[in-house]
C-alpha cells in the first residue's frame, strides 16, 4: 500500500531547475532511499515534501490526502517528520527540551490552561515527559538528557535530531543524510536503529544517503537522481549496477 505519492514534482530557483518532473511512491512500512551526486536535488525534494518550498508544478499526496497546498506546520500534524542535513536543533536548550518541543503536535491544552498550569496541563506534561523518555531509551541518549545542544558532539546532535523527529510519532520519517559526520561504528548503530524504527515503531522511513553500504543494508527500494531528474528506481543491487547511475557518479 502506498503511503506517499509524488507526481511530476518540479521546482526551479532562478534559472536552475533543481527538481524536474520527479515522481515516486513510498510504500507503507518500507525504507526508501534517495541517492545521487551533490546538487542532484535530494534535499530540495525533501523541502518540497515539507512544504518549505512551493512546487512549480506537480502534486503530492500523503495517506490519500493531497498535501500540495497545505502550510508547513500542518505537514508535521499529518504525520511527516524530518531531520536536516546539517542538523537544525534548538541550540540554546537541553536535549530534553528539544524533545519536549516535538510534542507540540500532541498538545491538548490552549493558552489559558498553560498560563494557569491547570491540572490538564500538568497531566499533559507528565505524559509528554514519559513519552520522551521512551525515545531517549530507544536511541540510548540517557547521558545527554540534561545537556544543552550547544555542547554536544556532532554525532550526538544527529541522534538527538532523529529522536526529536520520533517524538512527533510520525507515520513517515524523512532523514536527510543521517550518517554524514558519523564514524563507522556510529553508522553501524544507525543501521540497527533504522531497522528498529521501521519494525518496532512501524514508521516508514525515507532517507537521503551517500553511504552506499548503509543504503544497501537497510533499504527496500532506492531512487537515484541527478541534476533534478530521476535516473532509476529499484532495489539496491539493481540501482548500484544501473548504467545511468554509474555514469552519473563516475562522469562520462
Amino acid at each position: 500500500m502506498s503511503l506517499f505519492e509524488a507526481h511530476d514534482l518540479s521546482v526551479s530557483f532562478g534559472g536552475i531547475k533543481a527538481v524536474r518532473d520527479v515522481s515516486f511512491t513510498i510504500r507503507s512500512g518500507e525504507v526508501f532511499s534517495i541517492i545521487g551526486p551533490n546538487g542532484a536535488g535530494k534535499t530540495t525534494l525533501f523541502n518540497l515534501v515539507s512544504r518549505f518550498y512551493e512546487t512549480d508544478s506537480g502534486s503530492m499526496a500523503f495517506d490519500g490526502v493531497d498535501i500540495t497546498g497545505v502550510p508547513p506546520h500542518r505537514i508535521a500534524e499529518m504525520g511527516i517528520a524530518r531531520t536536516f542535513q546539517n542538523t537544525e536543533l534548538f541550540e540554546h536548550e537541553t536535549v530534553l527540551t528539544n524533545l519536549l518541543i516535538a510534542h507540540h503536535v500532541h498538545r491538548r491544552t490552549r493558552l489559558v490552561a498553560d498560563l494557569l498550569f491547570l491540572p490538564g496541563a500538568r497531566r499533559q506534561e507528565l505524559d509528554f515527559r514519559r513519552r520522551v523518555e521512551d525515545v531517549i531509551d530507544l536511541l540510548d541518549l540517557q547521558s545527554y538528557r540534561e545537556q544543552p545542544i550547544g555542547g554536544l558532539p556532532y554525532g550526538a546532535r544527529k541522534m538527538v535530531e532523529i529522536a526529536r523527529a520520533l517524538c512527533l510519532e510520525p507515520k513517515l520519517l524523512l532523514l536527510d543524510e543521517p550518517s554524514s559526520g558519523l564514524n563507522p561504528e556510529e553508522t553501524e548503530d544507525l543501521s540497527f536503529w533504522i531497522e528498529d524504527i521501521v519494525e518496532d515503531l512501524g514508521i516508514t522511513v525515507a532517507m537521503v544517503e551517500h553511504d552506499m553500504n548503509l543504503v544497501a543494508t537497510v533499504s527496500n527500494r532506492v531512487l537515484a537522481m541527478a541534476d533534478g531528474v530521476v535516473l532509476a528506481t529499484g532495489d539496491p543491487t539493481e540501482i548500484q549496477n544501473h548504467p545511468d547511475v554509474l555514469r552519473a557518479y563516475l562522469g562520462d
Binding site: 506546520h73 536536516f84 500538568r122 536527510d176
Partner: protein, 358 residues
C-alpha cells in the same frame, strides 16, 4: 556540587527542582513579605516601583528573550495600559475590573502589532515597533477627550471593595502580589507547550515549523502576551505617578525596558528581576556620579540616554547573557572549586549551517 537524584517525572515538571531552591526562594518570599515592617515610606515606594518595572520586564522578556523578537515600542503598551486603566476608572469602572480590561485591551493591540511583524526580524522589527510607539504617542497627545492631551489626566486612587490601596504599604503589597502572579504565569507558560513554541521559534524557525508550530500564530500570541504583561504594569504605573501626561512615556522608556531585559539576562525570568534592580539603582548611581565627577560632565546634554545606550551595547558585547549569565558562571565556579575550567563557557565550535532553508 549538587547532584539531584530524580525519582519521578513530576520533578521535571514542578517549579522547584530540589529543597535547596525551595528554601532560598521561601526565604526571599518571607523577606519581601516582611519588608514593610522595616522599610520606610520612601523605600517601600521604590520597591513597589521596582516591582512594576519587573512586571513590564516579564512581558518584554517573553518577546525578546524567549521568542527572539525585539521591540522598541514597549513604552506604548505601558502607556496604553496606564491610560486605558485611568480612563476606565474615571468612567466609574471598579478597579478589579478595570485592571483586567486594560490588560486585555493591550493584548489585543499587541496581537495587531504582531501581525505586520510576522515577516520582520532584527533591526526591521525594531524600527517597526519604534514607529508604532510614535504613533501611539501621537494618538495619546491628540485624543484629548479621553487622554486629556498635553494637560494629561489625574488617576483616581485604586480602591478594592471600598478599601483605598493608595497608601505605601497596601500599594507595595498590590504590586508585589501582581508581580508574583505574573512570574507564576510566565513560569507556567515556559513549562508548557505555548512557551516552548516561543523558544522553538527563537532558536530555529525552520525546525519549529517542522515540529508543527504555526509561526504566525505563535508570534502573534507572543506579542499579545508581552503587551498584556507590560500593559498590566502600566495600570499600576498610572497609580504610581498619579497624573498621566504624554511625556511620562517616551522612546527612552522603551530603551530602559530593553536595557532591563538585556542587562538582566535574555532568556531567564530571574534576569527580569536582576534587570529591574539594576534599573532601580541606576538613577542613584547617576546621582552619586554627578556629585563626584567634575560639574561639566554632569551638564553634558543627553547624558542619561547616552549612558543607557552605552550600557546596552557593552552588555551585548561582553556579557550577552547578562547578570543572570554571570551569576550562573559564578555559581558554577563555587560548585566546582578548584576545578573550574574557563573553557566551559568559551564559545563552542558551531557547525556550519549551509543548508538553511531560508
Amino acid at each position: 556540587m549538587r547532584f539531584v537524584q530524580k525519582t519521578n517525572y513530576a520533578q521535571d515538571v514542578n517549579l522547584f527542582l530540589h529543597n535547596g531552591q525551595r528554601f532560598w526562594y521561601g526565604l526571599l518570599a518571607l523577606a519581601v513579605l516582611l519588608a514593610p515592617l522595616v522599610l520606610d515610606r520612601f523605600y517601600l515606594g521604590e520597591f513597589a516601583y521596582l516591582y512594576i518595572w519587573a512586571i513590564a520586564g516579564v512581558g518584554l522578556m517573553l518577546l525578546v528573550g524567549y521568542t527572539g523578537l525585539v521591540s522598541l515600542g514597549h513604552a506604548a503598551f505601558l502607556a496604553i495600559g496606564a491610560y486605558a486603566h485611568a480612563w476606565l476608572l474615571t468612567q466609574g469602572v471598579p478597579f478589579v475590573l478595570s485592571v483586567p480590561l486594560a490588560t486585555a485591551f493591550c493584548a489585543i493591540i499587541g496581537y495587531l502589532v504582531g501581525l505586520p511583524a510576522l515577516r520582520m526580524t532584527g533591526i526591521y522589527l525594531a524600527i517597526a515597533t519604534l514607529a508604532f510607539e510614535r504613533i501611539a504617542a501621537w494618538v495619546i497627545e491628540h485624543w484629548e477627550s479621553v487622554t486629556g492631551g498635553h494637560f494629561g489626566m489625574r488617576v483616581p486612587d485604586p480602591t478594592v471593595f471600598g478599601m483605598n490601596l493608595d497608601g505605601p504599604v497596601p500599594f507595595y503589597y498590590l504590586c508585589l502580589g501582581i508581580l508574583s502572579l505574573s512570574l507564576f504565569a510566565a513560569l507556567n507558560l515556559l513549562r508548557s507547550p505555548t512557551g516552548r513554541a516561543f523558544i522553538a521559534v527563537r532558536d530555529s524557525e525552520v525546525s519549529a515549523q517542522s515540529m508543527g508550530i504555526n509561526l504566525a500564530r505563535t508570534k502573534c500570541t507572543a506579542f499579545a502576551l508581552s503587551a498584556a504583561f507590560t500593559g498590566l504594569a502600566g495600570t499600576l504605573f498610572s497609580h504610581r505617578i498619579g497624573y498621566l501626561a504624554p511625556d511620562a512615556f517616551t522612546v527612552q522608556t522603551s530603551i530602559q525596558l530593553l536595557l532591563m531585559v538585556v542587562v538582566g539576562g535574555l532568556g531567564s525570568l530571574q534576569g527580569v528581576v536582576y534587570g529591574a534592580i539594576f534599573l532601580g539603582l541606576l538613577p542613584q548611581a547617576i546621582a552619586i556620579g554627578r556629585d563626584v565627577l567634575p560639574q561639566w560632565i554632569g551638564e553634558i546634554p543627553g547624558l542619561e540616554p547616552g549612558l543607557f545606550g552605552a550600557i546596552l551595547v557593552l552588555f551585548l558585547i561582553f556579557e550577552p547573557l547578562g547578570i543572570h549569565g554571570r551569576w550562573v558562571k559564578v555559581r558554577l565556579w563555587f560548585d566546582q572549586f578548584p576545578l573550574y575550567r574557563r573553557a566551559t563557557y568559551k564559545r563552542q565550535r558551531s557547525y556550519l549551517r549551509t543548508e538553511r532553508v531560508r
